[in-house]
């Protein structure tokens, strides 16, 4: 199905106002991507080309560079997210659950949401049987977590014309590949509609560090600018801020993509991007369960129950685009626009 058949054009300012619980303006969701790179295939991304260019097979240095993220980098990201008591969304290749057992267990223990991310890290247009790939991924998550995944992010956000149809038929309720809006939208499929959540290619370390080659601290600057603008926009209607990162990047020095990572081992820009924006206790208003507490640690209370908005959206009649929020969402603290930049920005 062509994109234009899945949804009509809709300018964001002309929709029914979308409201978050307790008067919150913005939902921030952090997506951690964990992948398994098959050493017998070309590497999905590279940090170093071979002498005189081209591509070598096998590509051990770039395989090893990615593996660093899972052996070392992921654990730095975990420290950051633990410190701020943020439950991330884990977008994980089905095969990576077994391969990187300690990573999946750490996420499960923390109550992170698991979403499908392909069975292995290769384009959905290159897998032999797309439905089978989706089913195996869902089964790997279900067997490990005890619950089938509700969400899906294509490997590299890749889709075929059929992907949303197959996802719905295999029980998925939302997809993240369509980075076309700041609010959730509904996509038609040949059966029931599926919700698309606003993932990001902008606040995302693969795009920023591996393609655009920004320095690590640009991750922080971009995330803060993004947050300020979305927070401003959200005065009209709720907005959603995705933060995407992979251990191979952010687990390093600079947020490539946090871990860029891309610089080597310091997740500082990611840490600051995720955390600084909600760290000033002065700015906290109200006592809603899911707001920042004004404690010295600036810890973050997360809602204990899923928001369930995906369900609500799915039940509405087709044709009207309505928002949803992700299961493990957390809601940004209420801060004045601009406050973040005062005294917090380098």
């Amino acid at each position: 199905m062509l994109p234009s058949e899945r949804l009509g054009f809709s300018p964001i300012g002309q929709r029914t106002k979308l409201e978050l619980p307790d008067g919150a303006r913005l939902a921030v969701w952090v997506i951690v991507n964990v992948e398994e790179w098959d050493p017998t295939q070309p590497m999905p991304r590279t940090v170093l080309t071979p002498p005189a260019g081209g591509a070598t097979m096998p590509d051990i240095p770039n395989w090893a560079w990615h593996e660093y993220g899972n052996r070392v980098g992921y654990w730095r990201m975990l420290e950051v997210l633990d410190h701020f008591r943020i439950r991330a969304v884990l977008a994980i290749n089905g095969s990576a659950i077994q391969r990187y057992g300690p990573i999946a267990r750490a996420a499960l223990e923390r109550g992170w949401e698991f979403i499908g991310h392909g069975f292995s890290q290769r384009s959905m247009q290159k897998v032999a049987d797309e439905r089978d790939d989706i089913c195996r991924t869902a089964a790997a998550i279900r067997d490990f977590t005890g619950r089938p995944p509700r969400g899906w992010l294509g490997p590299g956000l890749t889709e075929t014309w059929e992907t949303p149809d197959l996802l719905v038929e295999e029980g998925f309720e939302y997809v993240c590949d369509w980075v076309l809006d700041d609010q959730p939208v509904r996509l038609k499929t040949r059966t029931r509609p599926i919700v698309n959540l606003p993932y990001t290619q902008e606040c995302n370390d693969v795009a920023m560090m591996l393609i655009q080659h920004h320095k690590a601290s640009e991750y922080y600057d971009l995330a803060i600018d993004q947050f300020e603008q979305l927070y401003h926009d959200a005065a009209q209607s709720a907005r959603f801020h995705g933060i995407g990162g992979a251990p191979l990047h952010h687990g390093r020095a600079a947020s490539a993509p946090i871990f860029s990572r891309r610089a080597r081992p310091h997740p500082r820009p990611f840490e600051r991007a995720v955390l600084d924006r909600r760290r000033n206790p002065r700015l906290v208003r109200g006592a809603a369960e899911n707001r920042v507490r004004a404690s010295p640690a600036h810890s973050f209370e997360l809602r204990s129950e899923p928001a369930g908005l995906v369900d609500k959206v799915a039940q509405r009649p087709a044709g009207k685009e309505t928002p949803a929020i992700v299961e493990n969402n957390f809601v940004a603290p209420v801060v004045e626009v601009g406050a973040v930049s005062r005294g917090m920005r380098r």
């Binding site: 170093l48 300690p102 690590a216």
Partner: protein
Amino acid sequence: MIPRERCTYSAIVDRPPLKLPNQARIVVWTIVNLEFWSISRAMARQVLPAPTGVVLVPDVPNWSWHEYGMRVGVWRFFDLFARLGIRPTLSINARVCREYRRVARAAREAGWEFMGHAWEQMPIHKVDDQAEMITRSLDTLARFAGTRPVGWLGPGLTETYETPDLLAAAGIRYIGDWVYDDEPTEIRTTYGPLITLPYSVELNDIPMMLVQHHESAYFTQRCIDSFERLYSEGAERAKIMAIAIHPYISGQPHRIKYLEAVYEYINRHDGVLHWNGVEILDWYLAAKAEP
């Protein structure tokens, strides 16, 4: 053997911490890379692609850009490390001992560790007889330096599935191609275990300057940012920070001061060891042998 058959996944947090002598927190491992670029082939890297982007042979402008490093840039390195009293590891194409004898001699006289880095700079996949090339390279370096190298770095870190087996068979004890950890690790080969040392493609002027096109000054910032994090983690477990440089890149006049600034910053800290590859190897083997 594919990587998974050589080594299973291991999360760093699940390992007992390694400790350095005298409460040191971090080892800084500096690697200077010296290469031979054959004018008869496409250049290993380019600062200036030809108009319309085609690959030309001969490629004189890019050949001479690399040659600048050997004529001029590397002498800035020798100055810097002599001043600092640091003896880096020299990752050297064996052919450099013939073609740039003057440079290789300066490294030998300064007491740098010679590490195998193939015969000349081309992907190892394109070498017809890898075992022969490895032996020829190590023999040449042994004759020149007086000791046979125990370390190896593939050209551009390249390996085929057989490379670690061939290296172990040739007497190599550590390699730098597996940039997958902050600690040394042991991998399997058909000739017994081989140690990987944490070389870097992050604190490395090729990916940073030639692939990612960062500004000269960012080298200092990235090294400091990495050092800060590793130094802090070094309170709990030994950390190793590799810095990999090339004379035709970091030896340029507009970059050298940013390299100097890195060491100036690092050397303001206690608990820092400047070790070469074989020193890291010996420490790791001894630390691992302890009960």
